[in-house]
Symmetry: C2
């Protein structure tokens, strides 16, 4: 292995390109996209070796095709990409939602799961975006979740696992539905809450003073509200049902806490805060924070 | 100046003690508390010079008394502390809520605002607590909000301003009500949301996997849920009305975003996420993040 094609060169695709070139996992990395701005930049920065705006040309020699476009565009592209995969080539992705992409792939493949499709989600990134922010070690010690189906080709799965292993990531397997539920809770919901909080405060009359007197805790809490709006719109649309469920579960708990505040129930609040602190502290000890 | 007394030696009181001793703003720093564990530790660590469990003795020679106990206890102590202030001495505090403490002081002072009381709120701290975590430079480049009233003695105000200036903090003045509203939005509400999120996830069936696959964004977002439960119970009780208002305002906005997700209204979500990102990015540029 051989030829890698990145479709949609941004932070994640660019960082993967840098890593596989650096380790030699791939001989050559090419780029494809609708526009050439990021691709030109990618060549200038040495992230990719070459690029084309012609999909036929791009896919003719690619052994591994990484669909790294925003989630919804990635879904729409399935119909163009799948039929152009060369014999024995593998299609993979980096999207934050797996169910919607699997559906799109099945719809684009006569109702059948494409065996050469290996869905993958590297849990890495930052509030920065774009190929300019890409780094070769972005995935080191980060988890990459693979969501193979019973139809997934075993060799294709092994190759994508080896690719992510080579980046220094910790690769784990999970079901598609389980992935989307867990990510809704740990990532999509927190982003929804952070965006909501910042927007609510910015809309308030006192917003200037509010932001002026915000401190470190606020900075950390709202960091993810500086994430890419297009990416998060797509995620919210693609993982709609799970995110609605997560919002509702959160709202129920917030309503319970609101009652405690309203009733000045200090004991119940102390219990809740202590439970939450213990859960987070235990989580951080495991993560080595 | 001269003799400083810290009532309730924890992270904030301990850090202030270290700073005024290091800069020479005070000659001597003593401690008082109900129990001697933290006070003993404070002497061992060189944070304070001495301590007593006798309030009369503690206050006999103190020129500045810093009420650094948790918010509710600080309010309850007003009735014991105010009458014991020596002639010309100043009482100040470090609590996160000002209205409830001012009320307690007025109630303990025959319905009159004590002129020698200067309410102050250093916006610093961390999810750590206790005198062991205290450091002399905790307040450097952090804001300290003073909330003087028309009745506040001008010399007392100037002294407390000078004390906080000496720690490297940026000192600003604000009304009591304005302080409590702004802090509800920027600090108390985010803590409520972080505690609620972690508790909701910990209560979920999939909690083990949820915490296992949580990434950096989640770690930052929930950092404040590792804060001291007693401190935050007290704040929630002391700033009840403002916090209820902040929760309701947030819930309205969350409900609006939920509708957007439910209606798959990508344009509205993109607008909201873009607005929030712009507001936060502008805020971070001002803060030099």
């Amino acid at each position: 292995m051989s030829q890698l094609l990145i479709i949609g060169l941004g932070l994640i695709g660019g960082s993967l390109a840098r890593s596989v070139k650096q380790t030699g996992f791939c001989e050559r990395v090419s780029g494809y996209g609708y526009r050439d701005r990021s691709l030109k930049k990618g060549v200038e920065l040495g992230v990719i070796d070459d690029y084309t705006l012609d999909l036929d040309e791009a896919m003719a020699s690619a052994d591994i095709v990484v669909l790294a476009a925003p989630t919804l565009i990635a879904g729409e592209m399935m119909v163009d990409v799948l039929p152009r995969l060369k014999e024995g080539a593998i299609l993979t992705d980096v999207a934050s939602v797996k169910g919607s992409l699997l559906e799109a792939a099945v719809a684009a493949n006569d109702g059948v799961v494409p065996p050469q499709l290996v869905l993958a989600h590297p849990i890495a990134g930052s509030e920065q975006s774009g190929v300019e922010a890409s780094v070769a070690d972005l995935f080191v010690d980060h988890r990459v979740i693979l969501t193979p189906t019973p139809e997934t080709n075993a060799d294709a799965l092994a190759t994508i696992r080896a690719m992510w292993d080579s980046t220094g990531a910790e690769v784990v397997d999970m079901g598609v539905a389980e992935h989307d539920a867990i990510l809704a809770a740990t990532s999509h919901l927190p982003h929804v809450l952070a965006y909501t909080l910042v927007d609510a405060l910015a809309a308030s009359e006192a917003s200037e003073d509010i932001f002026r007197f915000a401190a470190g805790g606020f900075r950390d809490f709202t960091r993810i509200a500086s994430s890419d709006p297009v990416m998060w719109r797509d995620i919210a649309l693609a993982n709609q049902a799970e995110i609605l469920g997560a919002i509702d579960q959160f709202s129920d708990h917030l309503s319970t806490l609101r009652d405690m505040v309203q009733n000045a129930d200090g004991e119940a609040m102390h219990d809740l805060f202590s439970r939450a602190k213990a859960a987070r502290d235990a989580f951080m000890i495991k993560k080595g924070d």
